[in-house]
């Protein structure tokens, strides 16, 4: 279900199409089996920057090509297609399985559960390949979990860019949260300016 996206970009504006990254709740993005904690956040960029991985890329641990990326959105989105740019030398992911609106999926869950959709990926160094979704199933996506079980034979799996194409709605999923109220303030939550080393403190 891959289509070659080889055109001169004059007819329509690619960058605005691939702008779902703006609706990603970046602080809450997480990944499992990443070698450098937090490196998953560098993978979401504008379309023009898709090949520019100067800030870092997502790499799995040595000898283990599996990766799970959890992407929450700030509002519900309709997802049309996904684009993945992997690394060279067989470190590109070979398969992609997607789960929708599920919290806290780990590797044993991902292996046992039936994904909403899965794709066979090809090596995509220029970022021109996009993988369409079964649109009817991706109508109101509050968060999406991407599971990369395999790669093309490399020791680790590298992902340089994840692009998401679709529309953002203004709706938000109602989450019933168990909220914990503090009886006493937690000092680590209230760093004063004096501690962070800036400005005059007034007493």
């Amino acid at each position: 279900m891959a289509c070659l996206h080889d055109h001169s970009c004059e007819e329509h504006d690619c960058s605005s199409d691939w702008s779902l990254y703006k609706h990603i709740d970046l602080p809450k993005v997480s990944a499992l089996n990443e070698a450098v904690p937090g490196s998953v956040k560098t993978v979401f960029r504008a379309w023009e920057q898709r090949l520019n991985s100067s800030e870092g890329y997502l790499e799995s641990n040595e000898g283990d090509p599996e990766l799970i990326v959890f992407i929450p959105f700030t509002s519900d989105v309709k997802l049309k297609s996904i684009s993945i740019v992997g690394g060279a030398d067989g470190t590109s992911p070979a398969k992609l399985r997607a789960f929708i609106n599920r919290d806290g999926i780990d590797f044993s869950d991902a292996q046992n559960m039936q994904p909403v959709q899965e794709w066979e990926l090809a090596e995509n160094f220029q970022g021109v390949l996009e993988y369409q979704t079964r649109y009817s199933r991706f109508q109101s996506v509050g968060n999406i979990t991407l599971h990369f079980p395999d790669n093309f034979g490399g020791d680790t799996t590298q992902i340089h860019y994840i692009g998401l194409k679709g529309e953002a709605t203004q709706l938000k999923r109602d989450v019933v949260a168990t909220i914990v109220y503090e009886l006493m303030p937690n000092p680590s939550d209230h760093k004063t300016r004096a501690e962070t080393g800036g400005g005059l403190s007034q007493v």
Partner: protein
């Protein structure tokens, strides 16, 4: 999730009172620290030995539940480290709040029967699912055990979030040793505050003078320090008094009135005054009472005057009665009485001369001073006459 070792090896007494008790104390302390440091923290406990791996408490923030279940534990069986860790991982996976970070704390007291490869595999699986692991190596010591646990830690460790602590048997309790480790202080959480307080309370006192953390309670710490210094000053004064007293006894006794006469309002002079007064009461039993007197003497000069006059009136033998009289005199005594006493004092010629002699820069033989004395004496006589007249009129 805390994995407790309740195998047969825990009966040993090389950690006081028994290994199991030391472990239980450490577990209680850790649970307290975790729940206090962040209100959203939850802690669970499972046992690795006994009939099999069993989860006693699923992760909860209720400290009471955890303490209760630690209370009724029994010792027996063999520890199953691998199964224990895997069950802990499962318990963490099914936690209610998915935002919580996962961590397992293992107390490894008995020998580890699994080989390194198995442990490394477990470690890698934990790392993959971003579970941190803290290992407390205590109890049985064989070289393989330490090696295996270190290998396990190396497999799990991701960015220094996992730790291992080796506690050798010794006089200090297991919990005291743990308090200073990163297991307790966490990853820079507020757990360190709790740890500091617990350490001070335990009496280990890493660096707090009075068992009170100045950060937690500055006023209490200050009050303790001030009272300590006051006590020290008092003791120095008492020591000085004792030294002076022995030296005075060698010189010989002086008149009681002259001693009492040195009445100044200076505090330092007050201490010398008390020295002379103690000379008056050479009885050893009264030394303590004198100290009390000395302290109360520093309060106000008027009350001191009352005591002084009582002293001068009393005969030399009746010391106890005099002291009792003095002590029973309230500070709110009638001013009249004070006044008459003072007047009597002033009337006493010899008394006055001795006072004046002690005052610097005054020569009692100076004619001016003599005139003054005479006038004051006549005044006091007049006052006495007036009082007598009044009494007669009342009658």
């Amino acid at each position: 999730m805390i994995c407790v070792d309740n195998s047969e090896w825990m009966r040993n007494g090389d950690y006081s009172p028994t290994r199991f008790q030391a472990q239980a104390d450490a577990v209680n302390l850790i649970c307290g620290a975790k729940t206090q440091s962040n209100p959203e923290n939850t802690v669970g406990v499972l046992t690795m030995a006994g009939k099999g791996v069993r989860v006693l408490v699923t992760p909860t923030s209720d400290l009471g539940k955890i303490l209760a279940c630690m209370h009724g534990l029994e010792i027996g069986g063999e520890m199953n480290l691998a199964a224990g860790i895997q069950v802990a991982q499962l318990a963490l996976k099914h936690r209610q709040n998915k935002k919580q970070q996962q961590r397992i704390i293992v107390f490894a007291g008995s020998p580890v029967k699994y080989d390194k490869k198995v442990l490394e595999l477990i470690g890698r699986k934990l790392k993959k699912n971003s579970v941190a692991l803290d290992i407390v190596n205590f109890g049985e010591e064989d070289e393989e055990k330490a090696e295996k646990l270190e290998a396990l830690l190396a497999a799990v460790n991701n960015n220094d979030s996992s730790h291992i602590v080796h506690v050798p048997p010794g006089p200090s309790a297991l919990s005291d040793v743990l308090i200073s480790t990163p297991i307790f202080t966490g990853d820079g959480e507020g757990g360190s505050g709790f740890a500091a307080a617990a350490a001070a309370a335990a009496g280990g006192v890493p660096g707090y003078d009075f068992g009170v953390d100045p950060n937690l309670d500055p006023e209490l710490a200050l009050a303790l320090r001030v009272s300590m210094e006051e006590e020290r000053a008092r003791q120095e004064a008492a020591a000085k008094k004792a030294a002076e007293e022995t030296s005075k006894q060698e010189k010989g006794e002086q008149q009681s009135t002259s001693q009492d006469a040195t009445m100044t309002e200076n505090v330092t002079a007050g201490s010398s005054e008390t020295e002379k007064k103690t000379h008056d009461l050479t009885d050893d039993e009264n030394a303590l009472l004198q100290q009390a007197l000395a302290m109360s003497m520093d309060d106000s000069s008027s009350t001191a005057a009352v005591r002084d006059t009582d002293m001068s009136d009393a005969s030399a033998e009746d010391h106890d009665l005099q002291l009792a009289l003095q002590l029973s005199v309230q500070e709110g005594a009638a001013d009249q009485q004070n006044q008459t006493d003072v007047n009597k004092l002033l009337g006493d010629q010899s008394f006055m001369s001795s006072i004046l002699a002690s005052l610097p820069g005054v020569d009692p033989n100076d004619p001016h001073v003599k005139d003054l004395l005479a006038s004051m004496q006549s005044q006091s006589e007049n006052k006495d006459k007036d009082e007598d007249l009044k009494e007669e009129e009342k009658k």
